[in-house]
Amino acid sequence: MTVPAIELKGISKAFGPVQANKDISISVAPGTIHGIIGENGAGKSTLMSILYGFYKADKGEIWINGKKTDIPDSQAAIAAGIGMVFQHFKLVENFTVLENIVLGAEDGGLLAPSLAKARKELKELEEEYELFVDPDKRIDEIGVGMQQRVEILKALYRKAEILILDEPTGVLTPAEADQLFRILDRLRAEGKTIILITHKLREIMEATDTVSVMRRGQMTATVKTAETNPEELAELMVGRKVLLRVDKVPAKPGKPILEIENLRVTDSSGVERVKGIDLTVRAGEIVGIAGVAGNGQSELLEVLGGMRPGSGTVRMNGVPLALSGPGSDGQARRAQGIAHVPEDRQREGLIMDFHAWENVAFGYHRDPAYQRGIFMDNAALRADTERKIEKFDVRPPNGWLAAKNFSGGNQQKIVVAREIERNPDLLLVGQPTRGVDIGAIEFIHKQIVALRDQGKAILLVSVELEEIFSLSDRIAVMFDGHIMGERLPHETDEKELGLLMAGVAGEAA
């Protein structure tokens, strides 16, 4: 029996009344990839933050390579051989790769010797792990996949034997994700121990040797990956059976609702984000826009939702929409029958400090039904909120709570309830299930499909290919501001879409 690389014994951590981690014990063998899966808020990140010294556990012990280790801060974690690759990279954008790797690990006051030494070591690391990057490129000149490699190299440069990756594929194309998994394989072969935190079942199945499932702060199971399947893991995560695929009948597309011709969008710094796209969304169908984040999908949604100006022609029910100037704001769009579930519910869709009942009117607060003389009819708002909370099963069912006090899934239910209940002709949906737990994903997907079945048009933007596949009746792929092609979900696969997402033009798009 080998000594475990990491052993956690009875870790508990509470934030006020919230028990984020409760008596968690795991043991990870050296030279393996161990997955930790769980819904958002299940306590995965807290656990890893304890391991990396950001938080101190209330109870419990950490053993590294058979030695009881105290990790009061990240310096201690690095000294113990633990490296972390965060979901959001911690890189200085206008520094070179080499400078970023050395940052915080300089040998002395003078930079040149450190850099020279780092350059040599980096070369050895690159060859050992086949992790090639150009050390003299600036971070803002290289792609996200490369940036992630820099993060991994940073950890290796600090002699990490144990590597923690937090949701590493969130920003990657499928191809980049595959590359990442090949790198992880290589690292494992060299004897490194890897902990992979994710909420994507597919990645767990593909990449890991063992997997631990967390639910509500507790470790509900640790199993060998080869001996389990996605359905079982999903059930362990949620605590009940879940439908991973959306049940839906074939679409019956009707007349065109939204017609986009040669739409262009330039952002505030003058960069063209949407470079002349054409797209039609018909009544009774869901059109999914696939693409890696940052290829113009967000800007597309924002123009249609009245959040930024654009140029070109967009017709809604045959009537041209103003794309800039008066009549192009969110109020005008709502009046034209466009509802919008925005990509970022915390910064856009909700006012986090407002009560739920105030948020239920957000964007529709000028509706005459919510006015009483010169005042807002708060009683009517609250009554409306109660109806929506019940219908959309928002928990806890308390309209007086501030939006920030709901979980991600319930926040999203508030937004979806508000938008869908307006019975719009066109629903714009951005990342409807980002940061949403599986149970709520199922519910939100059902609501979107139900709206489609009422003959409404839906334009969906998501970076989750799985979501695009399971919801869309037609898929358009965006890359660098262009639509690379349209596909029917049953006539394509992830590989083909992945190529389109990476900008490789398909045959006869």
Binding site: P17, G330, R347, L350, I351, F354, G363, F375, M376, A402
Partner: protein, 364 residues
């Protein structure tokens, strides 16, 4: 979950801040060899021990309510209006013009006209920084500060070159006619048998200020405009999503803020001095910032904080009058209160939040 109960946030934190400021002030008074107990005694009797003292305390408080509300409204739109001082000066100019150049049959009509002029002038003075912020992105803090200086210079010019009565050496306007004299608290309370000091400057503007508190409360929490202002203040991207124009909210919130600051002039110019003098605002525009901070931008909090600062102003004046504690020290004490209640808010808040979390954990 919120980190601590609301009462702790609204009452406990300001109270602890005040106590800290008091302790430090005590040490300062001790250090210069004066008796702090006697000093407190003097302040309390001076500011609250007689209707004369109350009259001054409430007079100052009236000023601070207007400027405090002004800052609070802008705060709700996440705009930091430092220009209350200049807007109040311009309000004074408007009041002086209305009172001097129009013959009024009765003070009540004159008051309404003066209020309108004060608000108009104050709002106009806030409009330019608001426009620059909304359309050009010039930071409102910088522009409003600069507009304070411009206001002072403008007032200087107006008083010296335009409005000064011929033959007068004093850079001030002529006295307002008797017809626009506002009833003082003495005159208001006498008919109902309360003998309020005749010499104290508190006047009917106090009631206008209290009404303004109620109106601002209703505006912020009960109207659609208030909803939009708060939404914009919490999240600009959220406002854009909801079709709320950031340009419009920035300008409207600043106009309301400027109007409230300008409104102060009915108290100090029309109610007290009954003429427009240089530096008539006496820093009330800046005190308004502390008042709004301490009052958590809530009109009721602003009301309480304004009374407190009124007390400090009047008590401080008494202290300077009766002890050898120098005038500058009074300013130090006032500054300490501002420092602790406004700027050092987090110093008290963070340990307190930890304490409440720990207490709650025990309870579980």
């Amino acid at each position: 979950m919120d980190k601590m109960p609301k009462w702790a946030d609204v009452i406990l934190i300001p109270l602890i801040s005040l106590i800290l400021a008091a302790i430090l002030s005590t040490l300062v008074i001790l250090a210069i060899g004066e008796n702090p107990v006697e000093a407190v005694n003097l302040m309390v009797t001076g500011a609250l021990g007689s209707t004369y003292g109350w009259g001054y305390t409430l007079y100052y408080a009236t000023n601070f309510m207007f400027t405090g509300l002004a800052v609070a409204v802008a705060f709700h739109a996440r705009l930091f209006n430092i220009g209350g001082e200049g807007q109040a000066m311009l309000g004074g100019l408007g009041v002086a013009m209305v009172c001097l150049y129009v013959p009024w049959p009765h003070w009540s009509i004159a008051l309404l006209a003066a209020m309108a002029a004060a608000m108009l002038f104050g709002a106009a003075w806030a409009a330019i920084p608001a426009y620059l912020q909304a359309k050009r992105g010039s930071h409102i803090v910088i522009t409003t500060i600069m507009f304070n200086f411009i206001a002072a210079a403008l007032l200087n010019y107006m008083l010296v070159n335009v409005m000064r009565p011929a033959g007068s050496q004093d850079p001030a306007t002529a006295r307002f006619p008797e017809a626009v004299h506002l009833p003082t608290l003495h005159e208001i309370l006498a008919p109902i048998g309360i003998n309020f000091s005749k010499a104290a400057p508190a006047n009917i503007s106090l009631i206008v200020a209290l009404l303004a508190c109620v109106v601002v409360w209703a505006l912020i929490w009960r109207t659609r405009l208030g909803y939009e202002i708060r939404a914009y203040g919490h999240s600009e991207t959220g406002a854009v999503y909801a079709g709320i124009s950031p340009v419009r909210i920035t300008i409207v919130a600043m106009l309301i803020s400027g109007a409230l600051a300008g409104l102060m002039a009915i108290n100090n110019v029309m109610g007290e001095a009954e003429r427009l003098v240089m530096n008539s605002t006496e820093g009330a525009g800046f005190i308004g910032i502390a008042v709004a901070l301490m009052g958590r931008s809530h009109p009721f909090g602003v009301f309480l904080a304004a009374i407190l600062f009124g007390f400090l102003y009047q008590g401080g004046a008494e202290l300077a009058l009766w002890t050898s504690i120098p005038r500058e020290l009074i300013v130090v004490i006032q500054a300490l209160v501002i420092l602790f209640t406004g700027a050092l808010d987090n110093m008290v808040r963070m340990p307190l939040e930890k304490l409440f979390l720990a207490l709650r954990k025990e309870a579980n």
